[in-house]
């Protein structure tokens, strides 16, 4: 697909990094402020989609991107299930247990295993929304040739 004009490309280069950092902020502070894994993941996917729309890309490059993103998404989901199952192994035999030490309320490093869940779920949601977007574009490119 073709990219857009020069003004859009320069503006996107300035802004996409700021949106990405805002998404990471929403994910990591999920246990202190509203947001968490889902909402932050959607914001990160938004920054990737912005770059793809502004710069365009030909067919082979998009297929390579989709292969890599699928591996990232599946790996993140397996890590979420692994953290949930590790409640079996360490400590008591309970699934989804919160077994890391809980710190002082209101600090960034606290609440046991919850920030780890937020990070991996956020990665997975971002990867899957980017894959939805890429699949629709690849279908359009494939039928044009």
């Amino acid at each position: 697909m073709k990219g857009m004009t020069l003004i859009v490309k320069k503006t996107t280069q300035l802004i996409a990094g700021i949106i990405f950092m805002y998404g990471i902020y929403v994910i990591v502070h999920g246990h202190l402020t509203p947001g968490g894994g889902f909402a932050g993941g959607v914001v990160i996917a938004g920054s990737f989609i912005l770059i793809t729309l502004a710069f365009g890309g030909d067919f082979l490059k998009l297929i390579k991107e989709e292969a890599g993103t699928t591996i990232v998404e599946s790996l993140a989901t397996i890590l979420v299930i692994l953290i949930a199952v590790s409640g079996f192994i360490f400590g008591t035999k309970i699934f989804f247990n919160n077994f890391l030490p809980k710190g002082i309320a209101g600090h960034l490093v606290s609440a046991g295993v919850l920030p780890l869940y937020n990070i991996f779920v956020g990665t997975e949601v971002a990867a899957s929304i980017f894959i939805i977007f890429l699949s629709l574009i690849i279908f359009k490119e494939e039928s044009k040739e």
């Binding site: 509203p34 968490g36 889902f38 209101g106 279908f139 039928s143």
Partner: protein
């Protein structure tokens, strides 16, 4: 009370769209509007008079918090609605490639 009536109006709009529209994309968008009316109804259920948003601030604890359980349910249901809508859109663009039209009255291969 006004908020509950707004829920009902959204639901009726979505239902009217699913039943009477002919374009495939408009049917899919009307289904999404119907689900949004349910989310609004859920979020209104947890309201308690005089409550504040359910975020604990250790230095200034409030007396009454709004019920946080329906908010968590709505967050999950929004993500499920996203998955349903994207699945519908993928099928719709492949249908356009096969039949050449978006009109639902033309797509009737399976009958009887």
């Amino acid at each position: 009370m006004i908020a509950y009536i707004m829920c009902f109006i959204l639901f009726l709009t979505g239902l009217y769209g699913v039943i009477t529209r002919r374009n495939l994309v408009k049917i899919a968008v009307s289904l999404s509007i119907m689900e949004i009316s349910t989310f609004l109804f859920f979020a209104l259920l947890g309201y308690i008079d005089g409550g504040v948003a359910p975020i604990v601030d250790p230095s200034d604890p409030a007396k009454v918090y709004v019920d946080p359980l329906p908010q968590a349910l709505v967050l999950t249901a929004i993500v499920i609605g996203l998955a349903t809508t994207s699945m519908l859109m993928a099928v719709i663009i492949r249908l356009y490639r096969k039949y050449g039209t978006f009109d639902i009255r033309e797509i009737k291969n399976l009958r009887g």
